[in-house]
C-alpha cells in the first residue's frame, strides 16, 4: 500500500523545498495559481489514465483538445450557437474521435499508439481547416467564465478539476465499470472469461479520454479567451508524464484517479518554482528533465521491490 502514497510524499517534499527557497511560493494566491495552471493538464491526464489503465495509450488528446476548442468557439462566434449547445457538440466530437480510436484498436486491432497517432494528425489537420489557421476570439462571458472565472476565491478550473477527480475516483474505485477497466488492464483474457465486454469497454475508455481532452480544450479556450489552432501542442506527452509521475503503471492494470492529478501538480509545482526562482528557460528544461527522472526513480523503487518479491 505504501507506494500509493509515494507520489504524494514527493509532491509534499517538493513543495516544502520550494517553500524554503522561495518566500513567494507558499502564498495562497500562488498555490491557487499552481492548481489552476496544472488543472488543464490534470484533466487531460485523468481522461488519458483510463486507456492507460487498460494497457493502451492515447496520443490524440492534444489535437482533440484543439479541435474541440476551435469548434465550440467557431459555432458560437461564427454560427451564433448557444454556449451550451456549442460546447455540447464539441464534447460529442471529442467522444467521437475517442470512440474511433477505440474502434481502430478493438476491431482494426491496431496498436493504440499508431491508431491514436493517426488521429492526432487528422485532428490537427481538421482544426487548421476549420479555423483556417486563425484563432477564433470574441467569446461570450458565459463561455469565458468556465476557464477564467472563479467562485468565491477558488477558480472555476480548480473546482472543475476537483469534481472531475472525484468523479473519476468514484468511477474507478466504486463502479462495476471501473473494476472492469482494471480487469482489462490486468489481463484482457481474464476479463473476457469473467464475462466482461472487453471490446465495448475498451472503446468506451478511449471515448472518455476523448471527452476529457475535448473538455480541457474548451477550458483552455475559455482560459485564453480564444481558440488557438495550435493549442495543446505537446499536451499528450505532458499528460502521459503526469500519469506516470503520479505512480500509475504505463503497462495498465495499476493506478488510481489521484495519481494523474498529483503528477500534474508535481510538474506544475516544478514549473512554477523554477519561474519564481528566475531560472533561465533553457536551464529550466534541463532541471525539469532531471527532476522527472529522479521523481519517477523514487516512485518506482517500491514497485520494483514488489515485482522482485513475486
Amino acid at each position: 500500500m505504501i507506494q500509493r502514497y509515494n507520489s504524494v510524499l514527493i509532491l509534499i517534499g517538493l513543495y516544502l523545498v520550494l517553500a524554503v527557497i522561495s518566500p513567494l511560493f507558499f502564498r495562497m494566491q500562488n498555490l491557487v495559481n499552481i492548481f489552476m495552471q496544472s488543472s488543464i493538464t490534470a484533466i487531460v491526464a485523468l481522461g488519458l489514465s483510463l486507456p492507460i489503465l487498460t494497457g493502451g495509450i492515447d496520443l490524440s488528446v492534444s489535437s482533440t483538445a484543439a479541435l474541440a476548442g476551435a469548434i465550440s468557439a467557431g459555432l458560437i462566434v461564427r454560427s451564433g450557437w448557444s454556449v451550451f449547445s456549442a460546447i455540447g457538440l464539441a464534447l460529442l466530437i471529442g467522444i467521437g474521435i475517442g470512440a474511433l480510436i477505440g474502434l481502430l484498436v478493438v476491431l482494426g486491432r491496431l496498436p493504440p499508439f499508431v491508431a491514436s497517432l493517426s488521429l492526432m494528425a487528422v485532428g490537427r489537420g481538421l482544426t487548421l481547416i476549420y479555423t483556417e489557421g486563425k484563432p477564433i476570439s470574441g467569446l461570450p462571458a458565459g463561455y469565458i467564465a468556465l476557464g477564467s472565472g472563479s467562485s468565491g476565491s477558488i477558480p472555476n478550473l480548480v473546482i472543475l478539476l476537483l469534481i472531475l477527480t472525484f468523479m473519476t475516483h468514484v468511477l474507478l474505485s466504486r463502479t462495476r465499470y471501473g473494476h472492469h477497466i482494471y480487469a482489462i488492464g490486468g489481463s484482457a483474457d481474464v476479463a473476457r472469461l469473467a464475462g466482461i465486454p472487453v471490446g465495448r469497454i475498451t472503446i468506451s475508455v478511449y471515448a472518455l479520454s476523448g471527452f476529457a481532452a475535448a473538455f480541457s480544450g474548451v477550458l483552455l479556450t475559455a482560459r485564453l479567451w480564444s481558440a488557438q489552432p495550435t493549442a495543446g501542442t505537446g499536451l499528450e506527452l505532458e499528460a502521459i508524464a503526469a500519469v506516470v509521475i503520479g505512480g500509475n503503471s504505463l503497462m495498465g492494470g495499476y493506478g488510481n484517479a489521484f495519481g494523474p492529478v498529483i503528477g500534474a501538480l508535481i510538474m506544475g509545482g516544478i514549473g512554477n518554482g523554477l519561474n519564481l526562482l528566475k531560472i533561465p528557460s533553457y536551464i529550466q528544461q534541463v532541471v525539469r528533465g532531471l527532476v522527472l527522472i529522479v521523481a519517477v526513480m523514487a516512485d518506482f523503487r517500491s514497485h520494483r521491490n514488489n515485482a522482485a518479491a513475486i
Binding site: 481502430l104 491496431l110 488521429l119 489537420g125 483556417e132 506516470v244 533561465p280 525539469r288 528533465g289 527522472i293
Partner: protein
C-alpha cells in the same frame, strides 16, 4: 559461410511483411498516376535522400522497440550532438574528430538512457522523456538558442556529396540498414536480441546478459540519432538547437508501420525501411500534388491508418490458422 538455405529462410520470414509492401506499392502507383513527376529517377533519389535522416534514427529505434523499450530522446540527442559537432567544427577541429565527438555525445546520452532503464528499472518512456527534455535544454543553453553556421566543405560532403550518381546520405542509410539487417538476422547477438525482447526473464535464465544488451541497444540508438544529426547539419550547413523536434514520433511511426510491435521480440529492419519510405513518400506526394498544408495532416493520418488496417487484415488471415491449433 552463408549458405543459400539460410538466406532463403531469412527472406521467407521477411516476406511476412508483404501486406505492408503491397500497401506501399499501391501508394506509389496512386501517386504515379496523380503526378507524372513522381516516378522519375531524380525524385526517387530525392525520396531516398529524404529518408536518410528518419531512416537512420528509425533503425536505432527498431532495436530499442525490439527490446520492448522506446526512445523518445532521439530528437534531442540529435540536436545536442549536432550543435556540439558544429561548435567543434567552427572552432577548427578536424572534421573527422568533430564527427566522432558528435557520435560520442550520442553514445553517452544513449548510455544514460540504457542505464536508467536497466540499472534503475525506470520505464523507458519516462527515462527517455526526461533525457529528451534535459538534452534539449542543454542544446539550447549551449548555443544560447542560436544556430551555428559555416561548416567546412570537407565535412559537408557527408550531406551534400555524391558517389557516382548516388547521394552520400543514401549510401550511409543503406549501409546502416545493411549492417543492421546483417547483425539482426545473421549473427548470434541478433538472434539473442530477439529472444530477450520476447522474454527477458527466459533470456536471463539462458545466460544472456540482458542488461548489457539493452544498454548497448540504447547507446546504438543514441549514436544513430547523432549520425543522423551529422548528416542533417552537413546538408543544412548549420546546426540549430531546435533541430529534431518531433523526430521521435516520426521514427516510432516508421517502426510500427513497419510491423514491429511494442511488446518486443518481433519485427525487424526490413519492415522499418518500408515504413520510413512509406512516410517519406506520403510527404513527397503531398508536396508534389501541392495539397494545402492543412489537409496534408489529415491525408497523412488517414493513409497511415489505412495502410496499417490493410496490413493487419492480411496478417490476420494467416494468424488465425496458426493460433487455433
Amino acid at each position: 559461410m552463408i549458405d543459400r538455405g539460410s538466406l532463403a529462410i531469412v527472406f521467407a520470414a521477411r516476406m511476412r511483411r508483404s501486406g505492408l509492401l503491397l500497401a506501399f506499392l499501391a501508394l506509389c502507383v496512386v501517386l504515379s498516376i496523380l503526378s507524372n513527376r513522381f516516378l522519375t529517377l531524380p525524385n526517387a533519389l530525392n525520396i531516398l535522400r529524404q529518408s536518410s535522416i528518419n531512416g537512420i534514427i528509425a533503425a536505432g529505434m527498431t532495436l530499442v522497440i525490439l527490446t520492448a523499450g522506446i526512445d523518445l530522446s532521439v530528437g534531442s540527442v540529435l540536436a545536442l550532438s549536432s550543435v556540439i559537432t558544429a561548435q567543434l567544427l567552427v572552432s577548427g577541429l578536424p572534421p573527422l574528430m568533430a564527427f566522432f565527438s558528435g557520435l560520442f555525445v550520442g553514445a553517452l546520452l544513449g548510455l544514460f538512457n540504457g542505464i536508467l532503464v536497466t540499472l534503475f528499472s525506470l520505464p523507458p518512456f519516462v527515462a527517455t522523456l526526461g533525457t529528451m527534455t534535459f538534452a534539449r535544454g542543454l542544446a539550447l543553453s549551449f548555443t544560447q538558442g542560436k544556430p551555428i553556421t559555416g561548416l567546412p566543405e570537407s565535412f559537408r560532403v557527408l550531406g551534400t556529396g555524391f558517389v557516382g550518381p548516388i547521394p552520400v546520405p543514401v549510401i550511409i542509410v543503406l549501409a546502416v540498414f545493411l549492417i543492421g539487417m546483417f547483425f539482426l538476422n545473421l549473427t548470434s547477438q541478433g538472434e539473442q536480441l530477439y529472444a530477450l525482447g520476447n522474454n527477458p526473464v527466459a533470456a536471463r535464465f539462458t545466460g544472456i546478459l540482458v542488461k548489457l544488451y539493452i544498454i548497448v541497444v540504447y547507446s546504438v540508438a543514441g549514436v544513430l540519432a547523432a549520425l543522423a544529426g551529422q548528416i542533417l547539419i552537413a546538408r543544412l550547413d548549420s546546426a540549430q538547437p531546435v533541430m529534431g523536434m518531433g523526430y521521435e514520433l516520426d521514427a516510432i511511426a516508421a517502426v510500427v508501420v513497419g510491423g514491429s510491435n511494442f511488446n518486443g521480440g518481433s519485427g525487424g529492419l526490413a519492415g522499418t525501411l518500408i515504413g520510413v519510405l512509406f512516410i517519406v513518400v506520403i510527404n513527397n506526394g503531398l508536396n508534389l500534388l501541392n495539397i494545402p498544408s492543412f489537409w496534408g495532416q489529415v491525408v497523412k493520418g488517414v493513409v497511415i491508418a489505412m495502410a496499417l488496417l490493410f496490413n493487419r487484415v492480411s496478417v490476420q488471415e494467416r494468424k488465425i490458422d496458426r493460433e487455433s491449433v
